[in-house]
């Protein structure tokens, strides 16, 4: 938690509706932080289905391994999250901690350890003592209540400067269902103190395999399309829980991905995922500007995505945005280094609506004045059209400021 709140923080928070079958509690266990909550439990009614997406890191944290194992069962009764310690790169001790926490959680929630999900965020390589908070779980499950979303989002923060919540209410076959989500993360990763975590719950009655397909499909253009610093966490965890409570109110149970009654839910889920993903970018360490990078006219969508990420991850592009400099030469460089098919002499580049380069050279007609004014805004759009195909992709990032270096260079000292 930082003293200075990101200038891109939401101006106001949405009212988060309660979701039947979900209850939450937070506690101050003092794992690392003092004077703030650092443990969250989310308890789910019996029958809750679960889906998950995790880091692709080859060195995942112990809780990620634990969740992956349990996901096969498709059922969840309890989520336990702690901040302050990531329980990553902790070897055998790390596995003992997840096993102990799983056991304590199962006892508290009256379920099997296979229905417990865990996430930890904070410093890497420091053994996490389960004893610091496992004794709290029973009381927390008893005290858990609905409508506690904002507090839940606060308990999982690390270097975040604001809690991140999003909600959508959509219909399945004419019946209202709600999707609530929380997230944390202030770098795509800052493994000492951040990593991305997000937990979403809905009362929609959707079977686990369908939920998994929706979640896996939904991350491509949301959480997997954001980057703060190109560094991939050991702990990234995104879980989606469906209590099914809306069935009592007449919502049909959805068992097939192709079910046409899912259309609105899919859009609503996408909206919640995108809102949370953008909130993470907007709280990127040291960020003062949100940057949307769109690549069009590429050979394929896959190619467009790679080029867009090459632009979004380029330190030179990101520092130029920080300096309010529409430095399209650096965008050319980033297109060129992506290694994807490109024809220099067909390339065009826009900052906002200002076309700065056209067909391989500077656009003689662009207005330096209009462009300078545009660069002062806090949401910058960069577009590169390759002119060789129909592939397109959009990704989001933030600028690279001296504060990023200060946050990450001064962190342990």
């Amino acid at each position: 938690m930082s003293a200075t709140i990101s200038p891109l923080a939401p101006k106001k928070y949405p009212k988060m509706p309660e979701i039947d079958g979900v209850r939450m509690a937070t506690a101050e266990a003092g794992i690392k932080y003092r004077g703030r909550t650092d443990v969250l439990v989310m308890a789910f009614d019996e029958g809750t289905q679960v889906a998950g997406v995790f880091t692709k890191s080859k060195c995942p944290s112990a809780p990620v391994d634990f969740c992956r194992d349990n996901l096969a069962g498709g059922k969840a009764r309890l989520l336990v999250v702690n901040s302050g310690n990531a329980n990553a790169f902790t070897g055998k001790k790390g596995r003992e901690t997840t096993a102990l926490t799983g056991k304590a959680g199962a006892k508290a929630a009256g379920c099997s350890a296979g229905e417990v999900f865990l996430a930890s965020t904070g410093v890497i390589g420091e053994p996490l003592d389960a004893g610091r908070f496992s004794h709290l779980l029973e009381g927390m499950v008893k005290a858990a209540r609905p409508g506690f979303w904002q507090e839940a989002a606060s308990a999982i923060m690390t270097t975040d400067t604001y809690p991140k919540v999003a909600t959508a209410t959509v219909q399945i076959d004419g019946v209202d269902v709600t999707i609530n989500g929380i997230a944390k993360g202030a770098g795509m990763i800052a493994p000492d103190m951040a990593t991305m975590l997000s937990f979403i719950a809905t009362d929609a009655p959707i079977a686990a395999p369908v939920l998994q397909a929706l979640l896996s499909g939904g991350v491509g253009k949301t959480f997997n399309a954001i980057t703060v610093d190109s560094d991939t966490s050991t702990s990234d965890t995104l879980l989606l829980f469906a209590t099914g409570a809306a069935e009592k109110r007449g919502a049909p149970r959805i068992e097939a991905v192709k079910d046409p009654r899912l259309a609105a839910f899919k859009r609503g889920l996408g909206k919640v995922l995108k809102s949370l993903a953008l909130q993470v970018v907007r709280d990127g360490e040291g960020a003062r500007k949100q940057v949307e990078v769109t690549v069009t006219g590429a050979k394929s969508s896959r190619s467009a995505r790679r080029i867009a990420l090459s632009i979004a991850n380029s330190p030179l592009v990101k520092t130029a945005v920080a300096g309010e400099d529409a430095n399209w030469g650096r965008v050319v460089m980033a297109v060129g280094k992506a290694g994807e098919p490109a024809d220099r002499d067909l390339l065009s580049i826009w900052f906002g609506d200002n076309r700065l380069a056209h067909q391989g050279e500077r656009d003689a007609s662009y207005s330096e004045e209009a462009t300078s004014a545009y660069m002062k805004q806090d949401e910058i759009r960069i577009r590169a059209d390759l002119g060789i195909g129909r592939g397109k992709a959009t990704v989001w990032t933030c600028d690279l400021t001296k504060e990023y270096v200060a946050i990450n260079g001064d962190y342990r000292s």
Copy 2:
């Protein structure tokens, strides 16, 4: 050229011997800079062989295209380099400029345009007017003289804070031959004002195909093993010229790559390439520390190299080094995100001789005090052993400081 010289600048410069068959001159053409030289010509005696290696960017500069075309001939009589404008992303105008400069150079040196080589470095996207310096070439070729290496290195600087030269004298079949090189670059790229250029000359009588094989083989562990900010230039150019003048002193003409008499030359060339490459890293924008990253025990050398670059390019690792923080958790993260084969529980990590992590967890016996003292040095070695194979690789980078952001964020404004 910056007012503040990098703290990692060489304490003293080597004496550069003259090389028979190479003469140089510099001039102030005022292309962008005032009060300093910005054009270099290097004239070569007839019979000079040439080899080259260029940027892999899909959006190369016009001079890179020009050199690639001429390289097929294998012969060189003149090199013309300007700083202040990269002649990159300048479309048809860019090609006209290289054609005009090539023609003026050929007239000045009394050779064909196919024996002229060009390089430009500086701002991207700004048309480069050949008329600004083409009229100077004739006089420069006439005035050119040997023993002008330091001045040559100064004329091609952009955001560099010091000129970069290196030399080696080795024997071919008992006869001394000399290898001299100059380089510029203060980012692997900073396309607005940097990009890497290097020119090397020798009096060894080596045929162009052999020269090319030696150069291509030599860059892998030198220029292709350095990274300042992971951004690849549109203009990277490395040329090696062999005048053959040592033949008069009895050196044999080398026509085959496998010739055993090349052994010492190969080592000498490698030494010059490595010295210049490290000087580029040590002048990395905002750099205060040189970082050597070695990966051992990887599945293959290729895999080791990818992991080493993942560590060396990670903003979180680089900011940690800037903060003198032996943050091995971030090294774990960078190993994990490389996508290469790795087993978390076999991983060990050293900073200098301090082993901080062993077999997948913190090394309980490491000394925080010794490590802190080590991190204050200006040359930091990071080693990661994966424990799964015999692949190894070393790359070099610099730290990521607030000055990097200042240099690149405040640049145009």
